[in-house]
Symmetry: C2
Subunit: 215 residues, 2 copies
DNA sequence: TGCGCATGTTACTAACGGTAACGGAAGTCT
DNA sequence: AGACTTCCGTTACCGTTAGTAACATGCGCA
């Protein structure tokens, strides 16, 4: 068997796969996460079974599609997290990077946050629980936890603390960003500043209101 | 027209509606958010069109179902938030109440967190963006924001700050809870303590590690 | 020429959400 | 009593979806 020919075909297949993904991208960005396989196939100029030969099932295609965007966003976040500045500025830069990304391409964001649909069903256990979050959120949480654990001295049990904080901070960023994207109550810089203030303990430091019940 | 008869019928309809909701509850708790209308109807001992006459469409049924659980959980959270104790203890009690709820009935939690599916489609704008979060998260965020705004003195622009924080804290709680429910890396009390520490600014106060790059 | 193999198609199944059309059982009005 | 409305319930259907089976075609290679 000719090896060069083999790789030639493999290269062609990967090229094809990229084309299909780009077509899928266009459709998903236009129709949202409910884009049908038929529509995607039509956009790519082919028919359904080819999509299924390349990606297995709809989940496979969506996972492949999500991986590209997720990797891109995670790269940008890592860069912000690694910038040469003090901790507060790094946190703000990371928050701003995430918010800028979801602001610039909200459809991509919407697609990435859509839960995994199914992935694999195990009818024995009923359905999976504690897996509502999108894979993107999980990955961001793990990465942030790693960065915190390796750079911040948290003493005894610091590792566990860092993991909780990683997922917690990512969830804070996500929820606030989603709400902000829907209501646009303020500018991005104000949102970043408010979230950083929250992480810096301003809630704990603030006094109770004089004219109301204490909190 | 006999009014007593009219209300009699209304009462019967509401009773029926409750029965249908309970049947739907059983199915959703067993099959997850992807329970079909046919299955729900079968569980209730009837057929599909009756469900549609009562709830309009699948979204209507799911919304009615979600409202019950959401109201119950929000009630519990309000109680924790209003307990007579200092702020740190209230925050911890609220976190613990939420986590205890999702721990005790994870299927309900999973169902509630499932985004709205569709609600109403407006093909003009493409698809809605910035509305990924479940209604439960939005409501929790708004409630918490209200409590913070009315009880904590945040000075100039405190209202906006409180809203950001409300949604941010709820998102933190949600993401950390979801991750915790999936991996069970520690006990509930430890998670509560770690999250409260995060809100109390321990991340900002901690030193850089001596043996690694600074953060 | 014939073999293997990847690529493409058409045509199908099963399930879903949702709806139209019909049937019967009550009570109500004349 | 008999016609009229109003629910409650059914069966049978529609359009769309994910996913698949079966068949056709073009290519390198012995």
């Amino acid at each position: 068997m000719d090896t060069t020919h083999r790789t030639e075909q493999q290269r062609a297949a990967e090229q094809r796969r990229r084309e299909l993904l780009e077509a899928a991208d266009r459709v998903v960005l236009r129709d949202g996460p409910r884009a049908s396989m038929n529509t995607i196939a039509a956009e790519a100029g082919i028919t359904k079974p080819i999509l299924y030969r390349h990606f297995g099932d709809k989940g496979g295609l969506y996972r492949a599609l999500a991986k590209r965007h997720t990797d891109a966003l995670l790269g940008a976040l890592r860069a912000a997290l690694d910038a040469p500045a003090d901790r507060r500025r790094r946190v703000e830069a990371t928050l701003d990077t995430y918010l800028a990304a979801i602001e610039a391409r909200p459809q991509v964001y919407r697609f990435l946050m859509h839960p995994a649909e199914d992935a694999g069903q195990q009818p024995e256990h009923g359905f999976d629980v504690g897996r509502h979050s999108a894979p993107l959120l999980r990955r961001m949480g793990e990465e942030l936890a790693e960065v915190i654990a390796e750079r911040v001295d948290l003493g005894e049990g610091g590792e566990a603390l860092a993991r909780v904080w990683g997922h917690g901070i990512v969830g804070m960023m996500h929820a606030a960003g989603d709400w902000w994207l829907g209501e646009r109550p303020c500018g991005r810089a104000a949102l970043v500043s408010a979230l950083a203030d929250l992480l810096w303990g301003r809630l704990a430091e603030a006094d109770d209101r004089a004219d109301g019940p204490r909190f």
